[in-house]
Symmetry: C2
Subunit: 498 residues, 2 copies
Amino acid sequence: MAKPKKTPRPKAQTPKGFRDYFGPEVTHRTQMLRKIAAVYDRYGFDALESSGVETVEALGKFLPDVDRPNEGVFAWQEDADADKPGDWLALRYDLTAPLARVYAQHQNDLPKPYRRYAMGPVWRNEKPGPGRFRQFYQCDADTVGASSVAADAEICAMLADCLEEVGIDRGDYVVRVNNRKVLNGVMEVAGLAGDDKEAERGIVLRAIDKLDRLGTDGVRALLGEGRKDESGDFTKGAGLDNTQADVVMGFMQAKRDSGAQTVARLRELVADSKIGTEGVDELETIADLLGAGGYGADRIEIDPSVVRGLGYYTGPVYEAELTFEIKDDKGRPRNFGSVAGGGRYDDLVKRFTGQEVPATGVSIGVDRLLAALDAKGRLDKTAHGPVVVTVMDKDRMADYQKMVADLRSAGIRAEVYLGNPKNFGNQLKYADRRGSPVAVIAGGDEFDKGVVQIKDLILGAKIAENATLEEWQARENQYEVARDDLVTEVAKIINGTS
Amino acid sequence: MAKPKKTPRPKAQTPKGFRDYFGPEVTHRTQMLRKIAAVYDRYGFDALESSGVETVEALGKFLPDVDRPNEGVFAWQEDADADKPGDWLALRYDLTAPLARVYAQHQNDLPKPYRRYAMGPVWRNEKPGPGRFRQFYQCDADTVGASSVAADAEICAMLADCLEEVGIDRGDYVVRVNNRKVLNGVMEVAGLAGDDKEAERGIVLRAIDKLDRLGTDGVRALLGEGRKDESGDFTKGAGLDNTQADVVMGFMQAKRDSGAQTVARLRELVADSKIGTEGVDELETIADLLGAGGYGADRIEIDPSVVRGLGYYTGPVYEAELTFEIKDDKGRPRNFGSVAGGGRYDDLVKRFTGQEVPATGVSIGVDRLLAALDAKGRLDKTAHGPVVVTVMDKDRMADYQKMVADLRSAGIRAEVYLGNPKNFGNQLKYADRRGSPVAVIAGGDEFDKGVVQIKDLILGAKIAENATLEEWQARENQYEVARDDLVTEVAKIINGTS
């Protein structure tokens, strides 16, 4: 008889580019999302949760022009139904494309304008890299159906409120606002407006975006013939003449000490462009509205160097930057940088309905914001592991269960050790690994006397860290208390009042 | 020149079997998950969030034995990498299979036993039906690495606590506990233990599961020759003789007034079976532990008729049932039924590591539990829409923004109307649609006098509903207040103290 073929064991591994999140990684994010949702709610935004799966058709942008539409998204074809071929489905790659679909599908049931927020995972079928995952969280708020820039101003204010709510101090962030129309005006003035100038405009945009890194000379070089970097590599420039480059440089450096002065400078620069002037008017309105709401330039400022995702946007654009320094991998200080961004986009719903619907919205990069809070030591790491009730006598399990039940009733996180109780050392090692503040110990003697032993693991850890041998010997970190006082005594240790 | 081909507009539609959740549908679920997470946390369970995507290999059960492993899951093949074919990936269909993978992958970094909770969407590639969606939430807690039935008892207690925490009153639910080993013992005693009796055992299990619906006579018929239902259709029975059927019926009806009596009765029934007696011992231990923790039979009871998902489980099984009546679609009363279930399973991790790792856990059906709370009128529907500040004069937008900023600073949900302000009636209709408690109105006159008009929409709605014409005319639901008193006056209306 042939030996049955042995199936090899499956590999226990996340797919490439995916990861697991444990304990505080999950709860810190949950808490942050809750705080942001509270701000969004206060601004009148309603929650929306669409499914992770959409038709490829509705997602757009990634149409199945080949056999398999796997460019950037995870997609698959449904089973055929009778003689109809199955739909192509895909995991959403952001929360904006589904919003457009939802708005087009449900518009008769939605208030107009429709303010909605959404938070959840999105998926990208991209090459993963360090810190770059193929599933990550987005946390968006958008207003659909409002053409007024008051909608943009509101979102900038809300973004500032969100940052403060999650623990970024005023002064440690700035929301920077620009307007796509002003930039279009600048291109017009610089003679770069024509359809045949798209390549040049692209180079100009990328050059502006590199100001932080390359400085003005570097940008200037990229606007002209090009630039050789330190390694000797040459990047071809936009080929602008001096006059043209002056216009762009003037725009990029148009930021002044006050919003009003910046607006005035921009107005000069695009005086000859209708669209540019309109953009400056909008920026001025936004600044006025924000000022009236109490959002001064210490929180939200006009900054012509913001060129974020400009291919997509049609009006105001905004981004939130954290202004404090952190150390990079090599210990060098660097600015933390952008944690949120967005702007006005007017043609997403049109794909479905033929009607142009104005919309503006922001997306907060939750994971980056968490990393920032962590870097600033602002994540609440005081969360204790559970009190561990150890098991000296496994026939007393019911008594141990009663102890944890009592502790939990008082709101104290607690558990009975559920592993093999034979090796008591393992139980204490377990409590240590769990970050437990207290271990409770009770065997036959204790039960007879109606007491329990309490081991203060917080104190124990402190002693181990800082104490001299004398201090160590002088301090009691394990002591006996009456069983009836268990909850009170444990609470004292946890609250730091023992 | 050929006319460019016009792309047809995409359909704005969720894929078949998926849906969108709006406003309170999202926030009610979020609140419920938060409450359940708090209970799980208090019991010492740690959060875990794995990604929605797993390798088909790790998920198991759905191996790619055909070209495309699409039986029950949504799956797709990754692009080939050099000369290696791409992995098959799939959306997770539950939270247990990923837990087994996580435990096997990270076991050196996890405490043992490992208590973890997880909440999130799962996906099933099944034919959708009314109320059956292809993406839905699960909310699980499992203990991995504890063979003691104390782990099972703990999860039953935790389940009871969760139900009370989310608003199910004591007396409106019961957690019912059984043990797969007792059932195996019964099969043994009834002569149904052999490998050749699998078909019969299946029929017996399904028959027991139908006790509620068919009554004892119906079940008895299914244990014997079979049963003809009202429509005349015949279901083939297990073909047991009377003695065999007596054993099964005796088991099924073994429930007595107290847990101790039920245990005694079960002990009699499986006296001749080693595995059965072991199962009864475990049930007794569970009842003792729960009793010691204060969880009496009013909350958790031993019930031999629980046969939930028995193919999967190896020891204790448990399910939570809501015991109150609701009306079905036709207005007939019926029991709400099961909202959560779980049990002990011991071979999921073994697939990866070769080592058997004991595990037990529960899954709460969040959507069903929400429906139950809704049916009982227990969902907080008092959440108001935002205060709407209307726009009488669009040049005053900054003043309106200041009003909402003031309201929000006081924690009041508020927004400026951002649609086209021309038609004032539309603004009030919008406020109505948003469920606003208050509309604020201010035009040139009001600004000159330093006042605003407040329209009490709660009172307005009440008047419209209940009042006689005289009452209607007698009540003021719009009045003038000083601009400086705006926040105070609006707060009065919202808090019901005006």
